[in-house]
C-alpha cells in the first residue's frame, strides 16, 4: 500500500496497465516527453518508449480519430486531451464514430479506448480551461463516462476503463489532482463502471455529487455535524451508464434529495437524476428535489469565478434548508 494523490494514482495505473498489457498506448499533446502539462503521464515515455507513449500534433480530431483506428487494429489507446474545453475539434470523432462503431458495424469493430481529460474550474485558469461538460458525453448513446473523486477510485475506474472493450471517457477533476493523499493498493483492482458508492449512510437527506464537488460536499456534511441531520452521501462515480438504483433506493429511505454539481444547471446531470428520482421514488418524496449547481452562464475569468463555482458553504446551506422543509 502506498499513499498517492489522485494524479499519482492515475500515473501509477497507466504504468501498471502498460506493464501488464503491451497493447496499451498513451498519447496526446505534450503527453510523451514532458509527461503532460499536469505531469499525469510523467516517466512513462522513458519507461515504455516513444512508440507506446508519444506526443501528437495539436490536433484533437487526429488524436481521437486515430484512436478509433488503433483500437480497431489491435491496440488499447489511452488518449489524453489537454483540457476538456479543447475537446470540441475532436467531438466529431466522439459523437459520430467512437460512440457508434460497435453498433454500426454490428459488433465487428469494438473500440477499447479511453479518453482522458482534466475538467472543471476553481484553479484560476485561462479561458476555456474550466468547463464541466458531462452532459455532452452522457447524452451520446454508446459512451461511458466516469469521474473519480478519490485516488482509490481513480485507479479502480481507470483500470476498469482500460480493460473495457467499449470506449470510456475519463474525466479528471484537476482541482483535486494534488489536493490530498489516500492509501492505494499496489495490486491491480477495478471499480465497477456503472456503480455509485454510498460514502456515508444517513436517513434524513440524500446528497449526490461527484468529482471535485464530492470534496466540497463532504466538507459541507462535516460542517453540519452538530446539526440534527442524518445525511446519506453518494458519490455517483459513473455518469453514464447511471446507477439510478443506488440513488433511488436511498431517496426511498430519506425522502429528500439534493444533487450538487459544478456544471451549469439546465439539462445538467442533476436534471437527469431528479427525473429518475421522480420515476422511482416519487411517492416517498417529502420535499421538492434540490439542485445546487453553477448558473447557466459562461464560466467567468478567475476574478469572477467564485460567483460561479459552488462550494461547501453553499451546499451546506441548501442541505439545511432541505432537511428543515416541512
Amino acid at each position: 500500500m502506498a499513499t498517492m494523490t489522485l494524479l499519482g494514482a492515475i500515473n501509477h495505473t497507466l504504468e501498471q496497465q502498460m506493464e501488464k498489457d503491451e497493447t496499451v498506448v498513451v498519447y496526446g499533446e505534450d503527453a510523451g516527453f514532458e509527461g503532460g502539462v499536469f505531469r499525469v503521464t510523467a516517466g512513462l515515455q522513458k519507461k515504455f518508449g516513444k512508440d507506446r507513449v508519444f506526443d501528437t500534433p495539436i490536433a484533437e480530431a487526429a488524436i481521437l480519430g486515430s484512436g478509433v483506428g488503433m483500437a480497431i487494429n489491435g491496440l488499447r489507446p489511452v488518449a489524453e486531451l489537454q483540457f476538456s474545453g479543447f475537446m470540441f475539434p475532436g467531438y466529431n470523432q466522439i459523437a459520430t464514430h467512437i460512440a457508434r462503431m460497435r453498433n454500426r458495424s454490428r459488433g465487428k469493430y469494438s473500440l477499447p479506448m479511453v479518453i482522458r481529460m482534466p475538467y472543471g474550474g476553481g484553479v484560476r485558469a485561462l479561458e476555456h480551461h474550466s468547463e464541466s461538460l458531462e452532459t455532452l458525453f452522457a447524452h451520446i448513446p454508446g459512451l461511458k463516462l466516469v469521474i473519480p473523486s478519490t485516488p482509490y477510485d481513480a485507479k479502480g475506474l481507470l483500470t476498469a476503463a482500460i480493460k473495457d472493450n467499449d470506449p470510456v471517457v475519463y474525466f479528471e477533476p484537476k482541482k483535486i489532482y494534488r489536493a490530498f493523499k489516500q492509501e492505494v493498493p499496489e495490486e491491480e483492482y477495478e471499480v465497477e463502471i456503472g456503480k455509485a458508492r454510498v460514502v456515508k449512510e444517513g436517513s434524513d437527506v440524500t446528497v449526490v455529487s461527484w468529482g471535485a464537488m464530492m470534496r466540497e460536499t463532504l466538507k459541507a456534511v462535516e460542517s453540519l455535524k452538530d446539526e440534527d441531520i442524518s445525511i446519506e452521501v453518494i458519490d455517483l462515480r459513473t455518469i453514464a451508464p447511471m446507477d439510478s438504483e443506488t440513488v433511488v433506493e436511498s431517496v426511498k429511505k430519506t425522502g429528500r434529495f439534493l444533487v450538487a454539481h459544478e456544471a451549469v444547471k439546465t439539462l445538467g446531470i442533476g436534471a437527469e437524476l431528479i427525473s429518475r428520482v421522480n420515476e422511482g421514488a416519487f411517492f416517498h418524496l417529502e420535499a421538492q428535489p434540490v439542485r445546487v449547481t453553477s448558473p447557466d452562464i459562461t464560466v467567468p475569468l478567475p476574478k469572477g469565478e467564485h460567483h460561479f463555482m459552488i462550494d461547501a458553504k453553499r451546499i451546506a446551506h441548501e442541505i439545511k434548508k432541505l432537511a428543515n422543509f416541512e
Partner: protein
C-alpha cells in the same frame, strides 16, 4: 525516383492508357497476370451493373438513397488490385467498387444502402471499415490503423479515400499530417470527381491541384488519370513499396468524374452541362479497360455479352435476397450499442416490448 518524375505543381499527370485504351506509357505498364486483369475488369463491371440496377430499384421505391459510383471504378479497382489481402480499406461513402474488390459482398453493399447495419459487418479477415458519411473523418481512422500496423509490426498498409470536397475539411489535414509525422504506412487517395455535390472543384481550394497539398506535409503527392485503371494500379504499387519500406505515406489525386448524381436525391443537371458529361463519357474507365483487354485478346464481344447477362442475374438475385432478409430484428436495435447492455437500457428495451404487447390490436 518514381514520384519525382511527376510534379503536381506543374499539373503533370501520370497515365498509362489513352482514352481509347492504348498504352501510351509502355515503360510504366504494370505487369499483371491475366487472371487478375480479368478479375479487375469483372469487378468494375459488377460495380457498374449493381449501380445501374440500384438506381432502378431506388426509382421504384425499393431501395433507399445511395451514392452511385459510376465513372470512378478505375480509381478504386486499380489500388485494391495492387494491395494485399491483409491491407486495409478505409472508405468514404462512394467506394462500392473498391469494397467489392476488397472482399465486401454485393449483398452487404446492398444491405447497407437498403438501411441495415448488417451490411457493415464484413466477413472475418476482410479489412474494410464501414461506409463513412461524416466527411473527412475517415482519414484519421486510417492513420490510427496504420499506427497500430506500424508499432505492432503487422506489415499492413492502409488505403483511405476522400473526395475533392473533403480536402477542404480540417480532418483531412489532421489525418494526412498525422500520417506524415510518424511515417505511417498509409495511402490517401483523393478522388477528384470535380464536384462536392454541386460545388465545383475550384471552390474547394485555390490550389491548382489537390496532389500538391502533399508538399506541405512533407510526403509525395501525385496527380494521376483516375479513369486509367492501370495508372492507378501502377502508382499504388509505388506507394505500397514506400509504405512497406517504412518510408511513410503517399497522397494520390485521382482525376476522375462522377457520371451519375451525388446521391439519388441529387439532380446534377442543375449544376453541370450535358456537354461536360458527354466529354467525360468518352473517357469512361470501364470502356477504356475493356478496349485494352480486347487489344490484348483477353476479351471479346461474346464474353462481354455473357458477362453482362450473368451479372444482371447475380445482381437481381442478390437484391431480391436483400429484400427478403434485410428486415430488422428488434434485438438488433438494442443489442449492439455496448458489449454488455447497461441496466437502464435493458429496462428501456423491456418497456418497449411491454408496450408492443399492451398495444397489440390497438
Amino acid at each position: 525516383m518514381f514520384f519525382e518524375k511527376y510534379d503536381p505543381l506543374k499539373k503533370e499527370m501520370f497515365s498509362v492508357l489513352d482514352k481509347d485504351g492504348k498504352v501510351i506509357n509502355k515503360e510504366e505498364e504494370p505487369d499483371i497476370d491475366n487472371d487478375t486483369l480479368l478479375h479487375m475488369y469483372k469487378t468494375m463491371v459488377l460495380a457498374r451493373v449493381a449501380d445501374i440496377k440500384a438506381l432502378q430499384y431506388q426509382r421504384q421505391g425499393r431501395m433507399l438513397t445511395f451514392a452511385p459510383v459510376q465513372g470512378q471504378e478505375a480509381a478504386q479497382i486499380g489500388p485494391m488490385a495492387a494491395s494485399d489481402k491483409k491491407d486495409w480499406l478505409v472508405p468514404a461513402f462512394r467506394e462500392a467498387a473498391a469494397m467489392l474488390y476488397k472482399g465486401a459482398t454485393l449483398k452487404q453493399n446492398y444491405l447497407y444502402w437498403f438501411g441495415n447495419e448488417r451490411g457493415s459487418h464484413f466477413d472475418e479477415g476482410v479489412n474494410i471499415l464501414p461506409v463513412n458519411v461524416p466527411i473527412g473523418s475517415q482519414i484519421n481512422h486510417a492513420a490510427g490503423i496504420a499506427y497500430a500496423s506500424k508499432i505492432l509490426k503487422k506489415g499492413e498498409v492502409v488505403f483511405t479515400y476522400i473526395g475533392d470536397g473533403g480536402t477542404s475539411h480540417g480532418e483531412f489535414h489532421e489525418g494526412v499530417n498525422f500520417g506524415g509525422v510518424y511515417d505511417l504506412p498509409m495511402i490517401t487517395i483523393i478522388q477528384n470527381n470535380q464536384y462536392a455535390i454541386s460545388t465545383p472543384r475550384a471552390q474547394a481550394t485555390k490550389a491548382d491541384t489537390l496532389a500538391q497539398k502533399a508538399i506541405a506535409y512533407g510526403i509525395p503527392g501525385i496527380l494521376v488519370d483516375g479513369n486509367d485503371v492501370l495508372a492507378m494500379y501502377r502508382v499504388s504499387q509505388e506507394a505500397l513499396k514506400r509504405a512497406r519500406a517504412g518510408e511513410g505515406p503517399t497522397l494520390i489525386e485521382a482525376f476522375t468524374y462522377r457520371l451519375g448524381p451525388h446521391t439519388t436525391s441529387d439532380d446534377p443537371s442543375i449544376y453541370r452541362k450535358d456537354e461536360e458529361v458527354e466529354e467525360w463519357k468518352q473517357k469512361d474507365p470501364v470502356d477504356r479497360f475493356r478496349k485494352y483487354l480486347t487489344n490484348k485478346k483477353l476479351w471479346n464481344k461474346d464474353k462481354e455479352e455473357a458477362l453482362q447477362k450473368e451479372l444482371k442475374k447475380v445482381v437481381a438475385d442478390t437484391f431480391k435476397e436483400v429484400e427478403k432478409t434485410g428486415q430488422y430484428e428488434l434485438d438488433e436495435v438494442y443489442d449492439y450499442n455496448y458489449e454488455t447492455m447497461p441496466k437502464d437500457l435493458k429496462k428501456q428495451k423491456e418497456d418497449y416490448l411491454n408496450y408492443l404487447k399492451e398495444s397489440e390490436g390497438e
